[in-house]
């Protein structure tokens, strides 16, 4: 135990949480701006939507509720989307929490472990009883707003007005190589397949479930497109 040191640290930390002047203001500003800059780096589209000035206020509020719990700021702000949903002003921007969730998927995909995706020719040998394991960088979600369309529109170098169809859609991020990120909007069939594979369903179970739910969709073509995006790693044979 380090009673005096820990008491010093607790007193110092309390002082950092209060407005200050002089030297304590330097530490306080650095602590606040460290969190704000990390959030800016991880949520650039949210910042573009609400503007730099408002984002900074929002980020300071967020950081006082959810300060960093890890020194690795590259991953800071996991709760930002859920936190946004509970802000009083969010009624004017109902899609913003989902846009933040999309940005979080992107960050999680970028910094996940690297792994070789399954080669396309190997997919042909996958038996119906095999399980397809998701690549560690794969991130996906089903969103009740067209947040992925909004996010995609903000990836273009020149901003333009967008009018996405107001309906639910899926977001997928895959990174088969360190510098190659695929970020398509996905439909319900692809989402059902991915959710099944994440749970460990075999190919035949996942495909049957998707066909039952979405009989008009070409589920084999959807699965093939997921393979092409590098969503899977080498399969495990199911043991009997």
């Amino acid at each position: 135990m380090q009673p005096e040191l820990i008491q010093f640290q607790r007193d110092f930390a309390s002082a950092l949480d209060r407005p200050a002047q002089g030297p304590m203001a330097v530490y306080r500003n650095t602590v606040i701006h460290g969190a704000v800059e990390a959030l800016q780096a991880n949520y650039p589209v949210v910042e573009q939507i609400i503007g730099e000035e408002m984002f900074e206020h929002v980020a300071v509020d967020f950081a006082s509720t959810c300060p960093p719990a890890s020194p690795v700021l590259a991953l800071y702000g996991r709760e930002f989307g859920d936190w946004l949903m509970h802000q009083r002003w969010i009624g004017d921007l109902p899609y913003l929490p989902d846009v933040a969730r999309v940005e979080r998927l992107h960050v999680a995909c970028l910094f996940a472990p690297d792994k070789e995706p399954i080669p396309r020719e190997q997919v042909r040998n996958v038996t119906p009883t095999a399980t397809l394991r998701l690549h560690p960088a794969v991130q996906f979600a089903w969103l009740s707003t067209p947040a992925m369309s909004i996010w995609l529109a903000h990836q273009r170098p020149i901003g333009s007005e967008i009018a996405p169809e107001w309906k639910a859609e899926g977001a997928l991020f895959a990174r088969p190589e360190p510098f190659v990120v695929h970020a398509p909007r996905i439909g319900a069939t692809a989402h059902r397949l991915l959710a099944g594979f994440r749970l460990g369903e075999t190919v035949s179970i996942a495909m049957k479930a998707a066909k039952r739910l979405y009989p008009l969709e070409d589920c084999s073509a959807v699965l093939a497109s997921l393979v092409n995006l590098g969503v899977f790693v080498a399969p495990d044979r199911k043991r009997n």
Binding site: Q9, P23, A35, P67, D114, P178
Partner: protein
Amino acid sequence: MVAGGPRLAMLEDLRGRHDISLHGVGMSLAGAAEPDPDHLGALKRLVDRFKPAFVSEHLAWSRLDGRCFPDLLPVPRTNEVLARCAANIGRVQDALGRQILIENPTHYLALRDHSWSETSFLAELARRSGCGLLIDVNNVAVGAHNLGYDPSAWLYDLPAERIGEIHLAGHSIDAEGTLLIDSHDAPVSEQVWTLYEELIARIGPRPTLIERDGNVPEFVELMRERDRAQGVAFGDIARAA
């Protein structure tokens, strides 16, 4: 400190062409708690993979009761803190299987209750833990201005054989015009260049890093500062011009 992706791939590429020095900010070595096992594990994976020439951290704390502060916070230099720091450095060195270098912090606040001078604290820390020292000359200049001590005398007191790496950087002045801030957003000041020359004249050349992470100028400007440091370290006046 992340599991994969483009940053590690870029580092891999750099490592293929150069030696690298890994510089950490989050180990909270001067805090009461032991190093966070997850953070230390991630650092070990990085060190094992990239085999850097140096690994360094700060004489500071940044973690308390589950919260991390994105800053390098100060401590009083007491016997208790010395023992805790030496133990924490020992744990990191044991986990990594190698020596680390410890950097002198920037000072803004005159803490009471120091029982060691900073240079004797650093020297004793190195003696007890076996760590080396990373001397940030800009931190010395900023702290000397803010707390009112002689930066040349401070540098002169350091044990030369313990210094493994040097940092240079620019600073700025706060809104009230009283405190210097270690902002890394300006060219290295003439005062810091002079202190660097004095230090190198006494201890000989050391691997030197110029830190610049704000108001980053044209690359050619950065290379001029690099050449000047190279000139100071190896007495090459033509390059320093």
